[in-house]
Symmetry: D3
Subunit: 241 residues, 6 copies
């Protein structure tokens, strides 16, 4: 199977993570994976949602949006339509859940970290890019809280990244571009911790159901990809910001 730019089936697209992309937020990360670009900002708010009030525990939540021309054809703004699509809701719930899985909310204290993931350009894999980028933005926001002595013990329990895998014209491939994704038989998003454990597996047979052998290959590729993404996260976080 031939992929664009001669990419191998088990190869990620070029990944770039830029911290402090804007100056106002506590964390502001532009993640670029091939042509996909997502701006992830982390904002600290000194209150929690009603269901968490008085619990002594914090909250981590995410919102996701695309600018109208992130896509080949202009997409109508959800603000103009007056409601979020099911796809958006699904994605933002996934991002929030994934990030919460590596945070000890008790150590965070009664405050919220908002992760806003705004897709500036979409070429497949925006939700996994958002998770991978938002993780870095969240680390910066928590660093800010620790420097301000608002948080005493680091609430982050492990590293976290996500990637898509799938089956395209019979081939199991890593990190699908939009073109591949739109013709995939199976599409799977995997979120993993640094300890190599699963936080989320979402696999959908768009067309042809898959079996255990496929699944094993999907997870193997995903783990490889996630290991590479974690390298990029790490070296980005080591740079003095």
């Amino acid at each position: 199977m031939e992929r664009s730019n001669g990419r191998a089936t088990n190869e990620l697209r070029p990944v770039k993570i830029s911290r402090q992309f804007t100056n106002i937020p506590e964390g502001s990360v532009l993640i670029e994976i091939g042509q996909t670009r997502v701006l992830c900002t982390a904002s600290v708010e000194e209150k929690v949602p009603p269901f968490q009030k008085g619990s002594g525990k914090g909250w981590v939540t995410a919102e996701y949006a695309m600018i109208p021309r992130a896509t080949q054809t202009r997409t109508q703004r959800e603000a103009s339509k007056g409601k979020l699509t099911g796809r958006t809701m699904e994605i933002q719930r996934l991002i929030g859940r994934a990030l919460r899985s590596v945070v000890d909310l008790k150590k965070l204290g009664e405050r919220t970290i908002w992760l806003d993931c705004d897709v500036l350009q979409a070429d497949g894999g925006t939700r996994t890019a958002a998770i991978t980028g938002a993780y870095v933005a969240m680390i910066d926001a928590i660093q800010f809280l620790m420097e301000k002595k608002l948080v005493r013990t680091n609430p982050v329990q492990d590293t976290l990244a996500a990637v898509s895998v799938g089956k395209v014209r019979g081939n199991v491939v890593l990190d699908l571009e939009y073109e591949e994704d739109s013709q995939a038989e199976v599409d799977m998003n995997v979120v993993m911790t640094g300890a190599g454990k699963f936080v989320e597996i979402q696999g959908t047979a768009e067309d042809i159901p898959f079996d255990r052998t496929d699944l094993d290959r999907f997870l193997e590729l995903a783990e490889q990809g996630i290991r590479s993404l974690m390298e990029v996260q790490k070296s980005s976080l080591e740079r003095t910001s």
Copy 2:
């Protein structure tokens, strides 16, 4: 681990599928899995959504709702709130996608089958019960279309059922009740065909990430449960309605 009614960890709750629960729809199925009860109706509409027009292909779609007191505490109606929650959207997208995976839309012709899944009582596993019940309602609707000679060749390519598995206080268990689900470390929904292939795997670590060993055990239990559910579907469909 002790489960209610002395259930084993790999045991389904009692399952009952009643066809023609109401008389008006082309398919009308009440599925009861323990205390969970979902009314699944199938309605044929002789038109397709805009994106499918002129394609010669049909459409299968689902909507999901709970009556306010399906739950222990009354839940506000989404119609009164004026919008669907993210959870509802996620579930109805899943049900529709799962059912489409076993239907040849070309053979269905340019018409839509609506599957309305209304939860009358909720005790965990409503989305997988909805898929399992809606499959039977859909079969009845397609039977209706074939008897009317509106559809010539059966578009259904395989049987389909779904079940939840998860990890509760360290135990891998099948078919979680609400009580178990609310304290589960991992929650996974699996949709499978009669050929034993996966249509959808959605696993979420609510609290503690899981590894490959867990995953293998989850999928094994899920397959067992789905086999049993397919028996109940089959004998229900054999009864003269």
Copy 3:
């Protein structure tokens, strides 16, 4: 005039009231009047709406909905449309008002009884069936409150039921089916107490205005029908639940 199943003009359709149709709510009644079926649940909430706070008085309110395929042609969900229709609002205001008329809100204390009337199948007379069924569900909820000693004196002041009457092709008839209702010249809903007094009279000339003689005949038939419905309510409530 010939009616379906050889029914006389002054005859009700077969009526069946099943209590504890689901197990979770404080009251859960399935009322079947011919092919019309409405699930009425009663839920106790230990608070009142803002306008009643601090008054020492409780509240009784109702919501009404139809599942999409309760009707011959599938009706779009109000939750998907994002708003309630005028018809739904009118009906749920009527149900709530009717039930409040036989409850001493002071004796109920500062709590709310929600009556959710979900139409599973619609063949005319759903709003009057909802009132008649919700009355029984409310009695069960109040019984629950008295057994828990949350309410000391029974706040229910009289029994209550409702029926439709109308004029179809010149004939004054009791309890209209959908087919009759859609061609009626006059359509009237009557809500009455056990003492034979009116709580609500809503008569509409869809086509041909009516005179006092018609009105007298309408009310006579309605009273007969309501007496019969109250018999069914009574024997249902006498059964050990």
Copy 4:
């Protein structure tokens, strides 16, 4: 029972109907009943709603609103809230239904008459004042259509007016003011034709159910009141506009 301004229990408040209150609409009527003032405009639109297309028949429909300070305390605009209240929907459905009952839609032809009833000041009885005033505005609009030869035969079959009656502190009274209405035991709106037939009867026991004797007295008073209102309508329509 003492009423404001020494009014007898069977006496209407002063009624004034001003045609051509504004100049743009085909009909524009300000109706004043005591302190209640409603501006009723009639607008002709040369199309019908989808359900009436191709039927050769027209449509008559109404919308109702109050300016925020029509009431003692400012009421939030429904446009700002983003939705109509149940009360508004109920009222505008009533007005439209009432007016359609005296119009032969076939003779009107495939066009719509919109009746916009905007309450400038509210002191009880706004819905019946709206019906009474909108009738006159509709007559002007139909006159306009006949002069333009767009309508050949007068589609209006009878005159129409409406009034409220009720029981206040045990007294049966005609034409309730806001003060009386808010403490009424029974509140009834009656819409009648010139031939003395009923188009709509809506009676609600807010507090104490009523019996047949009450009902007879209500309808007697209503007929008297409606006769007087029709006199005012008639002399207003006789004035050269």
Copy 5:
């Protein structure tokens, strides 16, 4: 350039301001400028919006609406559409801002004056008529507050009125009617104080950009028009209400 009724380019249409047009509000003004008629009511509410709470300062705010048939063609109600148009929002923000500019909110105290501007008939210049009329309604409401001793020192710092100017077929004209407005090359709204200072200038070249010479002429005409409007406001306020 010929204008309707032989009006000169620098001439206002006939202006009439009627106070106490309705009886309930603290201020109620009907302003008529030619065929444009706006009902402006002022309502006092003894609370302020959240952002002003505890500041010791009050608030002045406005809402604007048109009845559907204020215009030549019936306009759909914003309440029925479920949202305000951008035009409405723009106008009501302008009216509120303009009036606040002449009120010392500290002297007003923690209360809100709502100015509801409901257009009964629209023939151009509704937003400037609304400002001019609402000013008078606000004065009446403040007079009411001072008589009740709720406000001790008059918070009104200057008089205020507004007018439109523009360029129509090459001519600079004052107070555009709808017909002129719809073909204007430039449209400008000017709000001024009695001291002859600007509170708001909003000039838009609909078609042909304008230069400084035009601008000077616009502002000169606007000042003339506003002086005349202030005369009418003044004599209206001198009449015993």
Copy 6:
């Protein structure tokens, strides 16, 4: 008066215009004015809004949004609130109107150019930055249309840019930052063509009304600033993209 970074009262902040900031849209411009950054994309759609259909004329329109953390405190998304604020509507109407003023819609032909202005960081002057940047994005989109021979004659009639001016603590200043804007006595936005004519003047006295002398000074400063902005636009457009 001291300004941040020692800026003179008549000095713009550093301006940078980057074309092709993203790769998908026909025009994609990042404009940075000090800390304010707006991404302006231009999208061509081969259809026009209903009111323009069949006219042979095209349309130019704009939408404006801020990412939640463009501001010091996180702002809730309008998509989550389910509606646009008045401020957003006002701004996007202004941007669209301004750009249309320099485009001959007839020469554009029946197609729409959408200008999406997404604020990535907000430090005052976002609406004028959006106009200035969107102009460049529009030029690129029109260039694309001319290269594709979809448009034959250049429909752009003049250059266009916008700037804010105002009065801060008594000083007339150019290009206000957020800090200055929030305490300004007068705030004015000016949109001008290359020919030095006004397209839009919107001046608001937030606190202290202004006189003709102020106005003259505002317009003089604005013209200076706009001249400089046009230099930056020009050199950006000269670079090979």
